[in-house]
Symmetry: C2
Subunit: 143 residues, 2 copies
DNA sequence: CCCATAATAGTAATGATTCCTATTTTCAAG
DNA sequence: CTTGAAAATAGGAATCATTACTATTATGGG
């Protein structure tokens, strides 16, 4: 049962710690191969799962259907851009009070919550505005 | 482009409206086959997706990795029991205020949030307590 | 009633993830 | 420093939910 820390596991975790965009297993695989060319995809999956199970990293699930991983294990919230798919950490207070709200009138025991936000990231919001402005200009030129 | 409402689509939606436990596509398939024996799984998937796209039903994604569907399209929250997997509707106020909290200091545009809760449902909580009590009794008998 | 087209059944394909197994690596004890 | 049992790996096969494909059928406006 004792864990034996393989070089592969270390490389995977090291890579994840350099990223703040919560990559998928496949992205981890692609990048780690630069440093460890014959690592296998299965090893990446196994280690990401294991690291998540022992609490050294966090597994995140949004609605794109693929798992994302985060080396930051502190409780924090995420924003997903519906246009470019980017995932961004949000700096905000924790929302534990919503568990009290959920628990009122509920006969079970609420132990945790999953929350994330979606919309347009700063860049996409700005890009969209630019497109609208230039479309307006084009229409004006046409009379 | 005009929708033609097939009997299959109607049966699928009718079934979903009878359930408040947010079944998966496969569960819908299994049940709908009683009434419509040679309906195909693909048809169930296609219609659930379509109904969700046009807003007649809701697609729910928790962290079990399979899509769940809900005929109740009103905004409401869910609880997932980590022991028995049951999904329960929660009666609670909406949480739109957390989007304001998330938006503070964020340069993008927050358009929505996804939130669900997890823990032990009422039944599992009670069952666990029973187990603990009977374990204590057994230990007492052993001295 | 007709017919353009939406929808279906059945099946193949996809994509993320897990499983399998022979081989290699790790690490604690001698 | 060896050694050997347990843990981990590489590579590939298997799984599972979901989507795509295609020949056929059902729908509904004119």
């Amino acid at each position: 049962m004792a864990l034996k820390y393989s070089r592969q596991r270390q490389v995977i975790k090291d890579f994840l710690m350099t990223r703040k965009d919560h990559p998928t297993a496949d992205t981890v695989y692609m990048n780690v191969r630069n440093e460890y060319p014959n690592i296998s995809l299965g090893t990446v999956y196994r280690n990401l799962s294991l690291l998540a199970d022992i609490g050294e990293i966090q597994r995140l699930r949004f609605d794109d259907g693929v798992d994302h991983f985060d080396a930051d294990t502190s409780a924090h919230y995420h924003f997903v851009c519906t246009q470019c798919g980017q995932i961004i950490d949000l700096k905000m207070d924790n929302l534990d009070h919503i568990m009290d709200m959920a628990g009122t009138g509920f006969d079970g025991e609420i132990q945790g919550h999953v929350t994330y936000f979606h919309g347009l990231c700063g860049k996409c919001k700005k890009d969209n505005l630019q497109s609208k402005l230039s479309l307006r200009d084009s229409l004006r030129e046409l009379g």
